[in-house]
Symmetry: none
Subunit: 200 residues, 4 copies
Amino acid sequence: MTRATASARPPGRPRSGVNAVVFAATLSAVHELGYARATVDRIAAAAGVAKTTIYRRWPSKGELVVDCLLDAFGPVPLEGAGRAELMSSAVRWIAAKISEPGVGDAFAGVFSDAVSDPALRKVLSARLQEPYRVALREALGEPDGRVLFFIDVVVGTLLHRMGMTGEPMVEADVAELVEMVVPHFGGDAGTAEGVSRGSR
Amino acid sequence: MTRATASARPPGRPRSGVNAVVFAATLSAVHELGYARATVDRIAAAAGVAKTTIYRRWPSKGELVVDCLLDAFGPVPLEGAGRAELMSSAVRWIAAKISEPGVGDAFAGVFSDAVSDPALRKVLSARLQEPYRVALREALGEPDGRVLFFIDVVVGTLLHRMGMTGEPMVEADVAELVEMVVPHFGGDAGTAEGVSRGSR
Amino acid sequence: MTRATASARPPGRPRSGVNAVVFAATLSAVHELGYARATVDRIAAAAGVAKTTIYRRWPSKGELVVDCLLDAFGPVPLEGAGRAELMSSAVRWIAAKISEPGVGDAFAGVFSDAVSDPALRKVLSARLQEPYRVALREALGEPDGRVLFFIDVVVGTLLHRMGMTGEPMVEADVAELVEMVVPHFGGDAGTAEGVSRGSR
Amino acid sequence: MTRATASARPPGRPRSGVNAVVFAATLSAVHELGYARATVDRIAAAAGVAKTTIYRRWPSKGELVVDCLLDAFGPVPLEGAGRAELMSSAVRWIAAKISEPGVGDAFAGVFSDAVSDPALRKVLSARLQEPYRVALREALGEPDGRVLFFIDVVVGTLLHRMGMTGEPMVEADVAELVEMVVPHFGGDAGTAEGVSRGSR
DNA sequence: TCGTAAGCGAGACGGTACGTCTGGTCTTTAC
DNA sequence: GTAAAGACCAGACGTACCGTCTCGCTTACGA
């Protein structure tokens, strides 16, 4: 085994590092124009890149935005003393992310496109939901169904507020959201008597 | 003053009763094709009506769908012995409605469109959210903010599930949703000590 | 017979008379920019018309140009005392048409596109060649094969000159072309001994 | 004679014999897909060569095809007893070449492209027409104008037939072409009145 | 019974975005 | 220096949809 089995590096001109620039341009365009009017052409122009370059990397506008969100979110911060703190920090983290300029719009935008586009829906759930679901499942020790329900509640609530008002949820309401979900999902393992008293 | 206060009747040819047909065609088209591909042309064709007729009655596709949903929902059923039962029945009612073929897709669809369209957002919140907010406020005796939060949680969760999976939320999860919100919003007036213990 | 059997008029908004405007814009654009760079977008803009309007009427750029040429050519002038005069005037007519600004370029352009596009080739031969072939066949009393050959020689020669030099054929060469084809196709019926001595 | 007469040899790595391969791939691609869809990418792939290699050797698709045709044609065969036979053999030679698979399509294709591209037109006339014009002028002893006209007629006719029908001109029509041009250009110097006009 | 006001069907039209394709250039690595 | 591989740019193409507009026709009411 001389030179490593895995390809040393693919031949041809390597891709230039435009992903970050495109992501920034995407968020900025979505923030300023809204999801629907954030044209691929406009994003390309803002990023100083040809449209073909974008379509070479992402097969559709939807997938571009999904990757963009993935990049914007990064991994869930799962530090925290107990379950309560852990859940609380996760909720506050996603709420903060969705509040960032462009992110909430972009999220709601792809989400809405995905409603009518099964292919995009698959991408959305596989790329954007799956990793967090897995991470949360391991951190909380809850079955998949519960974790998915947790995500539905938290993200759904935040997006609904965003969609209805055009503004991200204010701090006080995020706090109430935390107060609602933490007890339900078992405030603190060991102390709470009704952990996962859900019917499942 | 003899002639009645409300205008006896507007001049010109009265509108024929096509609204119901258009609503049905809309839901059916959305159910079969998804929101985005449920073209106004297609809806018109399915309803056996000219596109002009639709645009004479509704200024945009979004408002058509809003009216369609309004028609599909009807008033909230607010019967129920106590607060708990009342909230529970409201949650189950909206969950059932969103499960009806086409309704969930249509709801998620307009909702998504509204993200990038402030005008539609205004319509959505004024026509589709307002009436239920008022009804719930009076039935529950909670301040506006709490009621809005309640709606965000319930509807947001249901729509997120619908958008992510393409399927309405199953009964077991609806039950869990009830179990989560009812205690939080004050299980039963009078007995519960922590009614609206929320931070507001 | 009260109202005439033939449909009084089709329903819907009648087409506005944009054809002529589009034809003019097409020739002008082709003349100024050449066939390839005479974009449909540019033609539409020059005609003050939406691109969709063009694509509603003509399925492709090629067919638009074919119709444009058809409009520019008009019917063959088949007056003339004898066969010789008739042929001569036809040759000079097509030579003059091809010399008009834009026409030659447009002709050579579609022609070239048709080489790689069987569908366009069919349109070209059916719409642009057929009528003239029929008219010439009846005027000259020659079999189809001979008429097609006549067209190949005359149009082919003129286009080849145009394509090679970028300029239409000068008068002297057109005269030589006439001198070549007229004797070959039977100078004048009755007098010429070798009328259509061809074997077809 | 050890060192060869001219240039010992250019420095650097000698070009491998890819020209022939590319020419073959070009003709084959054009034959199978038509000129327009015979992409440079596809030609490169078919030749097992990188696109860069093609663009290093030929500055544009047009020039590649011109060289390809030059290679396919080779020199005009100018043997023949008298003028008539000489012209006849030249016509039949070019007709046969244009009938070869891919050659006619390629010729018509570049020709068409040249209409909108002055640079390509220059190349076309300088590389593809000039040598034959010179050879014919010396062989026939006609002035340049006449020779160019001869080429316009013969090549124009053959290409027009090819472009309109998609098929090369059949033998019978080639014969008629010969019968038309030979007398016009002076069948046999001074003597022959009707050289081989009845050959069909 | 006629005029006015509006509803309605059919479809053209403007505008705008999407995603695809191509020609041609540039960058990197390997020989 | 030549070649392979492929990223990149610029920009045209054809399609889809929305919402508006233009017609001709029909239905109602009121004078």
